[in-house]
Amino acid sequence: MAEIRRIRIKPPSEKAAEVNRLVTPGDTITSDSDYMRGHGTYFEDTKLLASVAGVVETVNKLIHVNPLKTRYNGEVVMSSSVESWSADVVICESTRRELRRRSAKDELNMRKYLQEGDLVSAEVQSVYGDGSLSLHTRNLKYGKLGQGMLVKVSPMVVKRSKTHMQTSLRCQHHPRQQRIHLDQSHREPAGRHPQRWFHPEFGECDAFDTCILYTYESSMRYTITELLVPEKMENVVEWTLQRLEQEGAV
């Protein structure tokens, strides 16, 4: 009868203090019971094991694993389409919620302000038990967005920051919601911001407001038609990255 060998696959180093250590599910992170368990980890006996493939990060006594891909849950929300008076919230998996319904008259008047397909900037007022949301636009900075171009960006590329809205002369965007809205009263500027800028191929420039402004300014050196060439696009990204590095923002 053939023997079945029990083989233990050698885990990577058992020290937890290493920075930028890559783990795959099932790898032992540490046997030290001093540490607290964070996302992407689980306890088995006295050992802390990884449950996702990612990089181990320690913050004081908390260990968590950062996977490459995470799903995004935002707070300030951009709705992508408005149908009657319910909004489609893209981030939170398309739950349909009511905008405002105080009286029948309000409902009828709603159409004057918002049509299907309008872009609205709103804040989440509350989250119900079943996951649906209540939105409000009771602040001057929220409301219907006028002309511009919608640029879809992968949420991974968006840099986390506290405030995610910036209104500039030409550019109004809300990076956190993976959409960038531009003022199209100047068609040229709008054309200068195809979503390709934020494709990982062209460099690791995370999308935040300063970055977008700089990209726009760097792109002013070329005409619109020139910008369609990949080399020119790469140049623009490089200039932007340099400028950001100088300021220590990257």
Binding site: A2, I9, L22, T24, L49, K69
Partner: protein
């Protein structure tokens, strides 16, 4: 002839934009593409209060899915439920869509390996990784690991095994045809040895992915 190693493995991750995780995996000429959606909403009739429900949809290369495909779905689903920490996502669904692109032998193993890579890609919590290896016992009694379609057709028995990455414990065992207990044990041992290559591959693939960012 006693082949004890798996054919050449190639894979690609995150190739599909809609699913949360995806992979394209091939072992020799057998190629499989997987898309994973989850954790996501689920119909109330299907939900489980304390864990996620793993649903597998197996699509053959030609024709509609039948009973054989249903059997594959169940095997893949059971393997995943042993690996994925489903208690982390109660009342949700994890949907795994497996599309056969080419079947050149060891299809079940291919599918399970592809699913494992896609699960890693999706960032779904898993207890460990899983590697599946098939083997065939020829009429002469030789054990061939990772058989091609021709070998499978002539074999007296075809066995599929899946092992976990921590202790190399058996997660899945499936047999077609008949074999003696000794033959079964020797197949098990050969497959266990062969899955080292797969675990190495998973690790290299993850390293490559993370070194890019």
């Amino acid at each position: 002839m006693d082949e004890s190693s798996i054919r050449e493995i190639t894979s690609e991750r995150t190739l599909l934009s809609q699913p949360d995780g995806s992979s394209n995996y091939s072992q020799g000429d057998s190629t499989v593409m997987v898309g994973i959606y989850g954790p996501a909403d689920i119909k109330q009739s299907k939900e489980q209060m304390d864990r996620a429900t793993v649903e597998v949809i197996f699509k053959p290369k030609i024709g509609l899915a039948g009973v054989r495909e249903k059997a594959m779905e169940t095997m893949i689903s059971n393997t995943c439920q042993a690996i994925v920490i489903t208690t982390m996502h109660p009342r949700s669904s994890i949907t795994i869509v497996v599309q056969v692109i080419q079947d050149a032998g060891s299809l079940l193993s291919c599918c399970i390996n592809a699913v494992c890579m896609a699960l890693m890609d999706a960032g779904i919590s898993m207890k460990c990784l899983v590697a599946a290896v098939s083997c065939a016992i020829t009429d002469e009694g030789a054990v061939i690991v990772d058989p091609t379609l021709k070998v499978t057709e002539d074999a007296s028995a075809v066995l599929h095994f899946a092992f976990d990455s921590t202790e190399k414990h058996l997660v899945l065992s499936s047999t077609h045809g008949s074999c003696t207990t000794d033959q079964y044990m020797s197949c098990l041992k050969s497959c266990q040895d062969a899955c080292d290559k797969l675990f190495e591959f998973y690790r290299t693939s993850a390293e490559r992915r993370f070194s890019k960012t």
